[in-house]
Each structure stands twice: as structure tokens, then as C-alpha cells.
Amino acid sequence: MMNELLIKPSGVAAAPIKSVIGQRVFARYSLLFVLVLALALVPILISNSFYIAVANLVMINAVVAISMTLLLGTTGQLSLGHAGFFAFGAYVSAYLGGPQGLPTLLALALAVLGTAVLGWCVARLFLRLSGYYLAVATLGIGMMLSIVLRNEQHLTGGPDGMSVVPFGVLGFSLQGEMVWYFVLLFVLVFATVGSYNLLRSPAGRALRTLHDAEIAATSVGVDVRGYKVRVFVLSTALTGLMGALYAHYAGFITPASASFTHSVQFVMMAVIGGIGSVAGAVLGAVIVTLLPNLLAGAAEYEVLVVGLILLSTVLLLPRGMVPTLTAWYRGRKGRKAS
């Protein structure tokens, strides 16, 4: 109605706009397709299964980093307790699949559900807090979880940790780095495409607005609190899923997985690569996961090096690596064109 009334519809202008969008989408997906194909070939080309193991860790961390990006990069909520949710998913799945003898697929599903419910409770209780308060509240939740994990020995094996049964689907047990590589690659691709879609969807626009224009969002009908709760639950559930997968993959978990340091690592992954950028989260996960392995011979430098990288990212590339590089690349292309 308004279309016709307010201005004359410019049919000529409308058509090219659509096709431009179509082209761009195609270009993006084809790039992704090539990338996935290349990644799928990696284990065939590399026979050293230690590298595959590192790749698996990277992928697990990358998905958690993406879940962090969904939170931090959209609504700007900082969680310093994501390791708690990771460990919660891990332990629930380990406990239900191990001592309780549930099928691991069911255990995994319940673990994700449980983490989502926990995330929902935390969100309902604390999301009205903003800034530091949310960070400290999540920190508190994470800390308490890790203390409980350490002390409830009969459930969690205490500080020694507990071993976890291998993941089985339809009588087929997932074991070996190679099998896990493909499982995790699938999860990573799904998470990447899903969050990429989400971020540029109407819901994603609403979420990203909450970072610095909450009131504008409210005025156009965005249920600010509802979206914050939903994205928090989504993020925690995804983290819980990765925790559960990690537990079955590694075959062993300890309360250290819920530690504050681990939470900070997740934040770092999301920040170094670029707050709000899915590709940045993946890059951040790669860096943060590989560093300790590169420094394995000189572990005493690790805290320093990791700290320096994070510090210089925040100071020198405040938007993170990927967005800064993209902007630089675009700028160069722009200059060349003109």
C-alpha cells in the first residue's frame, strides 16, 4: 500500500538490486563449499593423526568461540562463565552415558537440554544486569559449578576427573581421530553457516542492534529482554553441546574444564579474531588452541605470549583481526577501483 502511495515504485531499480544480492549469496556459498571440501580432504592428505587431533580441538573450540560471538558480538553481553556451561554439558553427558547407562545419543541430547535450561535460568535471573554485573554473575555461576564438580566426588569423580564412555550412534561407536574429525567438521560447518545466517537475518539485525541501540530496537518492536534471553540460551546450549562432544571425544574430563582460565580462553577466541565476526571466532580459536602446542617446549612463556597477543589485539586492532583485515582489503580495493 505505502509502496504505491508514497513514491512511484521504481521497477527498474528493484530488479538489479535483487540480482546483486543473489550473486553475492552465491559467491559466499561457493567459497564456503570450496573451503569445506578442502577441509574434508585434509585428513586424507595428512596421515599424522596428532595433527588431526589438534584440528579436532580447534574445531571444538571454534564452535564454542562462535557461540561466544553470538553473545558478545550481538548483544554485547560478556560471559565469564562459559567454561562452566561447557563443563556442565560435558559432565551431564558423561554421567548419564556412563554410570547411568543411558544411550550416549540420549545422554548428549539431555546434556544440551540441561545446559539450555541452566542457561535459561541464569538469563532470566541476571540479564537485567548489564556490563560488569552480568560478567561477574556469570563468573560466579562458573566458579560455583567448578567447585561443585570438584567436591561431589560420587557424581563427578572429584578433582581426578572421570572417564567418559565413547559416543555411540546406532550401535556404531565413534572412535579415532579421523571419525571425530568428520563429525566435528560437520558440527562446525553447521554452526558457522547457522550463525552466519542468523547474524544477517531479521533476528540477527535485532540482536546486533542491542549492542548500542537498545532503545531504538525497543521502539521498532524488538522484545529486548526476550531476545537477550534467547540468544543467551542458544549460546549456552551450543557450548554445552560442544562440552558433551568433547567429553566423549577425549574420553576423560576434569573440573579444570570449568575453570575461570578456560572461560577467559573462550572470550579471547571471540575477541582476538574480531568481536561479532564468525570467521574471526574461528580464527581466534585456531590461534588460542595452537599457541600452547607451538609453545609446548617453552610452557613458561605461554601466559605471557597469550596475554601479549590479546593485549595487543585490543590495543592495536580494537575491532579484531578479521574485521580489520576485511576493512583494509576493502579500502585497498576501493582505492584501486578509483
Binding site: 558478545l72 554485547g76 560478556l78 535471573l125 541476571f126 537485567r128 544486569l129 556490563g131 560488569y132 554485573y133 560478567a135 561477574v136 554473575a137 563468573l139 560466579g140 555461576i141 566458579m143 560455583m144 567447585i147 561443585v148 567436591n151 532503545i215 575461570f260 577467559v264 572470550v267 579471547m268 575477541v271 568481536i275 613458561e300 612463556y301 605461554e302 601466559v303 605471557l304 605470549v305 597469550v306 596475554g307 601479549l308 590479546l310 593485549l311 585490543v314 590495543l315 580494537p318
Partner: protein, 291 residues
């Protein structure tokens, strides 16, 4: 009061004093900038570690202390530069991350140069316990409590009566007006960082004979102190002290009468419960929401 209770009380006060000193540091920086310095706990570590290292090299207590405070101050002033820059260019979120990273760098440097081993600082006046109400107390505990009280009195006097202190309060209440009135707001932030660092360093030094010191001693203290500051109502000096003492006492009483295994959960449980009933802390004021 039975002897055990007094014993728990002193244990709680000693821990609480340390949390309170660091919480004050959080609060000073928050008041001057509206942002939190998550590496505040490292000043405790730096103070204690530097003193311990210097004393092991044969330097007497007082010069070692002075040098330790100087080192901590120097690090804090460097941090302040980065802090202001991040706050101006980016935002609160980036400041949190920057200070966490800065803390890692400080820990990392200490780790590389001084290693991970535990170090000790000798007690100021011997290790022979005193008997108080049937409880046995180390003289160092009295030093900790005494020095904390003295520091609090000095701070109280400074903010209430000295010119610089009043300027500080004015600037934290209303930075723009204060600037118009000729108060150097940047200087105020520097002062806040200096005070915060000195408080942490002193806290680290006086408690080192009791708690020992090692490269990551500051992490837990920092986390608990930020909780203390929030419990007290961020921005209120009295609240920070109160929060620190409450956490210290809460921990020791929980260990004494409930479960020592769950003692560490106390501050986190306290803050979670507090957030549910009084999100602005005990002595904090609710911000007025304006569009």
C-alpha cells in the same frame, strides 16, 4: 564467645582485610573512570613477590617494601595509560578484556623471571602466637588488621579533608563539571590507579608472611575482591571494606560451621543471591534510567 569462634573471627578478618584493600582499589578506579580494572589482583602478587625476591637477595624488609610498592606503582601507571586509551577509543567491554590481558602479561613476566615456586616473607615480628580469648593468633594477623585500619583512616581523611581528595570525589561524581572547575580529570584517574596499586601492594606485602606468595596468587584475590566491591555497592568506599570483610568472614564461618570444601563457593553464592534481591549492592544507589 568460645575460643573456636574467636579463631574463626580472626581468620575471617585477616582474609577480609586483604579483600577489602583490593576491593578499595577496584572502587577507586571505578569511581574515577566508570570502568573496572580486572587486573587489580596482580598488585597483591607484585607487592608480595617483589618483596620476597628482594629479601631473598638480602635486602632488609623496609627498603624491599618500598621498592615493591614502587614497582607496583610503575606497572599501574603504565596500565593507566593503556586503560584511558582503550576506554576512549573502544568501550567498557574492551576495557574488561584489556585489563584481563594485562593481568596475564604481568603474571607471565613474573612467571618467566621468577618462576612458579612459592616464596615467603618473614613475619614482621616473629612467629610466636599470642593468646586472645582462648584463640591463638599470629602477631602478623594483628599487623594486617592494624595496617588495614590505618590505611582506611588515611584514605578517609584524604577524601574528606584534603584538597586533592575533594577534587577526586568531585571528579568522580560529575567529571564534566569538575573539569570546568579546573580539576584535572586525567590526573584524578592517575591518582586512582596509584592509590589502587599501593593498596594492593601493601595488602600483598603484609599478608605474604601468612599466606606465602607465588605468581598467580593475585587471580583468586582479584576475583573475590571484585565481588566484594560489588557486594558493597560499587562506588562506595565503605561498601568495599564492608564487602571485603563480609566475604572473609563468610568464608571462615562457612569453613568453621558448615563445610570447608565449599568455602570458596561462598563469595560467588553471596553475589548471586545479592543480585537477586539488591542488584546495586548493599550501599549502592540505583542509577536513574534516562532516554
Amino acid at each position: 564467645m568460645d575460643a573456636a569462634f574467636i579463631q574463626f573471627l580472626f581468620a575471617g578478618l585477616t582474609e577480609g582485610a586483604r579483600y577489602a584493600l583490593v576491593a578499595l582499589g577496584f572502587m577507586l578506579v571505578y569511581n574515577a573512570s566508570g570502568a573496572l580494572n580486572f587486573s587489580q589482583g596482580e598488585s597483591v602478587m607484585l607487592g608480595g613477590m617483589t618483596t620476597a625476591v628482594l629479601m631473598q637477595a638480602g635486602i632488609p624488609l623496609l627498603p624491599a617494601m618500598a621498592a615493591a610498592i614502587a614497582v607496583t606503582l610503575a606497572v599501574a601507571l603504565l596500565l593507566q595509560k593503556l586503560f584511558s586509551r582503550t576506554l576512549e577509543r573502544s568501550g567498557l567491554l574492551e576495557v574488561i578484556i584489556m585489563t584481563v590481558a594485562f593481568g596475564m602479561v604481568v603474571r607471565g613476566v613474573v612467571h618467566v623471571f621468577w618462576g612458579t615456586q612459592t616464596r615467603s616473607v618473614p613475619a614482621f615480628s616473629g612467629n610466636d602466637p599470642l593468646m586472645i580469648g582462648g584463640a591463638t593468633i599470629l602477631p602478623q594477623v594483628l599487623w594486617v588488621i592494624g595496617i588495614t585500619v590505618v590505611i582506611l583512616l588515611i584514605l578517609g581523611w584524604f577524601f574528606r579533608y584534603s584538597r586533592a581528595g575533594r577534587g577526586f570525589v568531585a571528579a568522580s561524581l560529575d567529571p564534566e563539571t569538575a573539569q570546568l572547575m579546573g580539576i584535572n580529570v586525567r590526573g584524578v584517574l592517575m591518582l586512582a590507579f596509584a592509590f589502587a596499586a599501593a593498596l594492593g601492594a601493601v595488602g600483598g606485602i603484609v599478608t605474604a608472611p601468612i599466606t606465602y606468595t607465588y605468581y598467580d596468587v593475585g587471580v583468586m584475590v582479584g576475583l573475590k575482591a571484585v565481588i566484594a566491591a560489588i557486594i558493597g555497592g560499587m562506588g562506595s568506599p565503605l561498601g568495599a571494606v564492608l564487602g571485603g570483610l563480609l566475604i572473609g568472614l563468610g568464608e571462615s564461618m562457612t569453613a568453621g560451621y558448615l563445610s570447608s570444601a565449599y568455602k570458596d563457593a561462598v563469595p560467588f553464592l553471596m553475589i548471586t543471591l545479592l543480585f537477586l534481591v539488591k542488584p546495586n549492592g548493599l550501599l549502592g544507589k540505583a542509577p536513574i534510567e534516562r532516554v
